[in-house]
């Protein structure tokens, strides 16, 4: 028991020391997995801290859950990518001050053999072809921004693949979903950042549709409505939003690359 109790004692002291380290100016952000997993946030965070003096903490979850976190007043600000859902969120009085900051794009990837023959087609033609050929399509199925975008694309073409046998709902993150598509020889919609990370020599998948306007993926920042959640740090949140749209930050966003490729394209105020 001695060693156990000593360990506990040591840990107790460690926590006691760790507690006062909480900085006064911290801002809690709920964001989507893509901003974290692509490495963008870690790239921008030091600049943000230097320029605003605010310590930014974030939880990275699907856009659906990020909005839910803000709705419950557990985050001050949001960085998400599901414009239609965001607008509803603002209209319902949960969020304020929504500002567009940047976009990246989605791509449709599929087996190199391309069994449904969709390569080079437009997004809507490709989806119709996949649907008609009953080719395996793996969906995120997790209410994330990517999942929302995918549902919108199907709906725009009057297709509802939900209950079809070829439609696999993974309920997982993008990387896991790509792995499932690779194993099953299926098609899927992915953000380009995750795709670049996934793409390696042994990868049986390749990009089949890209560059279509319908595949643009808009990111925005928002503040949790202080009228709903009185504890929201609205002054810091204002600084946060101003920071994202100012020219030097916008330039910095465009400077972030992965494997030599630019991932995010600033478009604040446009």
């Amino acid at each position: 028991m001695n060693i156990v109790s000593k360990t506990l004692l040591g840990a107790t002291c460690a926590l006691a020391l760790a507690l006062p380290c909480q900085a006064a100016d911290t801002l809690m952000m709920a964001t989507t997995t893509s901003t974290q997993d692509s490495g963008l946030l870690e790239f921008l965070e030091p600049t943000f801290r230097q320029e605003t003096g605010i310590e930014l903490k974030w939880v990275a979850v699907g856009t659906g859950k990020a909005l839910e976190i803000a709705k419950n007043c557990d985050a001050d600000v949001l960085l998400v990518h599901a414009p239609a859902v965001e607008k509803k969120f603002v209209a319902d009085g949960y969020g304020i001050d929504r500002r567009q900051i940047m976009y990246n794009d989605f791509v449709i990837v599929g087996p190199k053999k391309d069994p449904a023959k969709v390569k080079g087609k437009s997004t809507s033609a490709a989806l119709k072809t996949i649907y008609d050929a009953k080719a395996v399509f793996v969906s995120r199925g997790d209410k994330s921004g990517t999942h929302n975008a995918e549902k919108k694309l199907w709906a725009a073409n009057n297709l509802s693949p939900d209950k079809e046998a070829f439609y696999v709902s993974a309920g997982q993150g993008m990387m896991a979903t790509l792995a499932i598509a690779a194993e099953k020889g299926g098609y899927t919609l992915t953000d380009r950042a995750t795709w670049i990370k996934f793409d390696n020599k042994n990868n049986p998948l390749t990009i089949v549709v890209e560059g279509d306007k319908a595949l643009f993926n808009q990111y925005s920042v928002m503040t949790t409505n202080p009228a709903q959640c009185p504890k929201v740090k609205k002054d810091l949140a204002k600084k946060f939003e101003d920071w994202w749209v100012k020219p030097s930050t916008q330039k910095r966003i465009s400077e972030y690359t992965l494997e030599g490729k630019q991932l995010f394209f600033p478009n604040a105020g446009k």
């Binding site: 028991m1 840990a11 926590l15 997995t33 007043c73 990387m175 990370k197």
Partner: protein, 231 residues
Amino acid sequence: MGYFADGFSQAADLLLHMDDATMSAIEATLVSTSWALAIAALLGLPLGFVLGYTNFPGKRALRLISDTLLAFPTVLIGLLVYVLITARGPLGSFGLLFTLPGMVIGQTILALPIIVSWTAQAVENLDARCRQTLLTLGASRTQTALLTLCEIRYDLGMVCVQAFGRVVTEVGVAMMLGGNIRYSTRTMTTAISLETSKGEFAQGIALGLVLLLIAFVVNALLTWLKRKGGK
């Protein structure tokens, strides 16, 4: 195979260079786990002892409940505590969600049934004649209870170490309640899960190896306690 080799060399790198993020994750893991274990032991050891030592109506039912809770899915614990401590929940005013103390609540609930059930089991496993002998030798009831406690002291140590192992390796509670916040609530397990979703498999394996090393130390402790207990 490349991932394994890379994982091993990166694990060595992380430890040798005292990598900031890794050290912070190790710290968050040990701090939250130790707190959870301390609280669970404080509540669970007496509860378990009473449950195993005394006889009262409803004892079997309580024991059954505690045993069932051993199979409590960690994500469900996470979810239940989440709705309690979210800013809109009943305990929202304390601001516990996405903090280490919030995580500790969930991990305590995870550890508690382990400690209660296994402590009760340790008491029950003790030879029944032991207590009778003590009583015939003229020991008072308090003395008998204390001597029983003394008999199982090594078992209690083992119970704690096992609960530690369970809590230190779980990911559901830590992810949901801690939120995997860098330099704050990012633990070893949530960091592994993050590296996996980033596609940094080797880095994930490296962190996994570091966690295994911690588990090894805990198990070495367990072995030592077992030997000392003469079993």
